[in-house]
Assembly symmetry: C2
Homo-oligomer: 321 residues x 2
């Protein structure tokens, strides 16, 4: 059985997008339900999702374990796995880790760009690694079954998390920096260590992570995957598209600034390009998975390897959660 999984989307959700994901054949997606929201604000987001599930029960349902991916495949639906891009919902309270898991959370970034109570983000000047509270939280995430996601974290913090965690961790959406030296992309050294620990990398289709941004070609993206497969086991590579379909630009402002600044931070963007960037033509939405399939085969990946990258590898990773 082959599964298709996009392990990071943060869209302005609508029936249209759920339909696109089905048309793309996605059996599962990991969706970002919160960035900087605290526990109670995160409850509000879950309420919204309850409505999505009710109103689109023919297309989606809440995924809780790898078994739901198989179920989704059988029922021609997409299993939705909840994730957080920042650790704000657990506030400063270790007990909330179990609570957010009960409410559906399966992935949590320890930090989003800035320093959090758990670890350092990739936009800080210095990186002190995983904190005292961070160690406790990793242990608890391991225990209850929430994946540690270090996509927006700084390097030492990521290495610490790999070392401390007793389960494999994930970088759900980032690319190798050997290909495109964005702050958010990851060094080869780190990717090798991630790989050796059984961790997984979800490759991102977000233009700021792509060489030549919006103009990145399918060929070039797939060549990058081939090169990544030289430093990582191909079984530890998947897709985390980081699609933000239909989101208005004030959302990317919120993602970058939360409530922490009186000024305006442009993150991966710039003053002249503050908004969401335009997706490459060959990956305007999840239907681009079909282009990826062709592109991967063209650079020499076998059917098995291609199917692994497009979903089976994530499926196997979900078994470890």
């Amino acid at each position: 059985m082959n599964y298709k999984i996009d392990n990071l989307q943060y869209c302005k959700w609508s029936r249209k997008i759920f339909e696109i994901n089905r048309e793309a054949g996605l059996d599962a997606i990991h969706v970002t339900i919160v960035y900087h929201e605290d526990f109670n604000e995160h409850l509000n987001e879950i309420q919204k999702w309850k409505k999505y599930f009710k109103n689109n029960s023919d297309l989606i349902f809440l995924g809780k374990s790898f078994k739901d991916i198989k179920k989704a495949n059988t029922e021609n639906k997409t299993a939705i796995f909840f994730g957080f891009q920042n650790c704000s919902p657990i506030e400063d309270n270790i007990e909330l880790v179990e609570k957010v898991h009960e409410l559906g959370c399966r992935f949590m970034q320890l930090t989003y760009n800035n320093q959090s109570l758990l670890a350092t983000g990739c936009y800080e000047k210095n990186d002190s690694g995983v904190t005292n509270f961070g160690r406790e939280v990793i242990k608890e995430m391991n225990r209850v079954g929430i994946v540690i996601d270090m996509s927006h974290s700084a390097e030492k913090s990521t290495l610490d998390a790999i070392e401390i965690s007793e389960k494999p961790i994930a970088i759900t959406h980032a690319n190798p920096s050997f290909w495109h030296a964005a702050k958010r992309n990851k060094s080869s050294e780190l990717l090798k260590i991630l790989n050796d620990s059984g961790g997984i990398l979800g490759l991102s289709l977000y233009p700021h992570h792509l060489k030549n941004s919006t103009n990145c070609t399918l060929e070039n993206f797939c060549e990058m995957i081939a090169r990544t497969a030289e430093i990582m086991d191909i079984k530890n590579i998947g897709i985390g598209s980081d699609l933000c379909l239909d989101q208005p630009d004030e959302i990317v402002e919120w993602m970058r600034n939360g409530t922490w600044s009186k000024g305006k931070n442009f993150g991966e963007g710039s003053k002249n390009k503050p908004g969401f960037p335009t997706q490459p033509k060959w990956f305007e939405d999840a239907r681009g998975f079909k282009n990826l399939e062709k592109g991967l085969k063209k650079v020499g990946f076998s059917d098995d390897e291609t199917n692994g990258i497009l979903g089976n590898n994530w499926y196997n990773f979900y078994k470890t959660i």
Copy 2:
């Protein structure tokens, strides 16, 4: 005019303690109203203080500026200045800095032992200094008039705060590590830099910060002050007793563990001595200021210098807020 100021107390407040502080002649105290409480929980603490002020209006009132110290002196009362030992009440929201100031806050530690969103605490393994959010918050604290207190912070974070802040900062309650090498005490190098920036040190009477703990002698404590005055301008030295009168031991457990750990951390204590330590006989409560006065004169401080250390230096510092 001479003022007596104890610039850190965290007691289980009662009329009895307000009377003791009056008997000690204290014109002002900086009181810790919260540790790990979030904004709403901090509002609850303010409600409690409103009752204290109402029921003890002959003894105390809320202090808002240095003028209230003079007023307290004239009216034979103690002005109470609010402070936070951790930055939890501002959560991750820059706008809350102004709000907590409006509600009375005049001192805020950037961190309490562990990493916060603003800086690193002295109990962390690594210290990455003041964070992105921390820089924004320092600017805002300067603007609205809240003193940056680095008593429980790690060294690089403290040096960063001194550099970033446009106003002098405070270490409201700690001792020099040359005298007693507790994690919470401060290096001579740091104290010199603090001093050169116009910052102030409040010397602590908390046994874990004292040489020989509970058995520390008045003479030895005053000799330490004399040695501190060799590396700092005497005008930048005051008292922040860290008195925790009548607090039950579960409070020190809360201070140390908040909600961040499933285990038990003993902080400056130990498994065998988990509770609040016993005060030295010569400083069981604020009436010990009278002993300090004698002790300071005995080690050679002039009347002016002694009065400075016991309150006038803090009074002058308050003018800068």
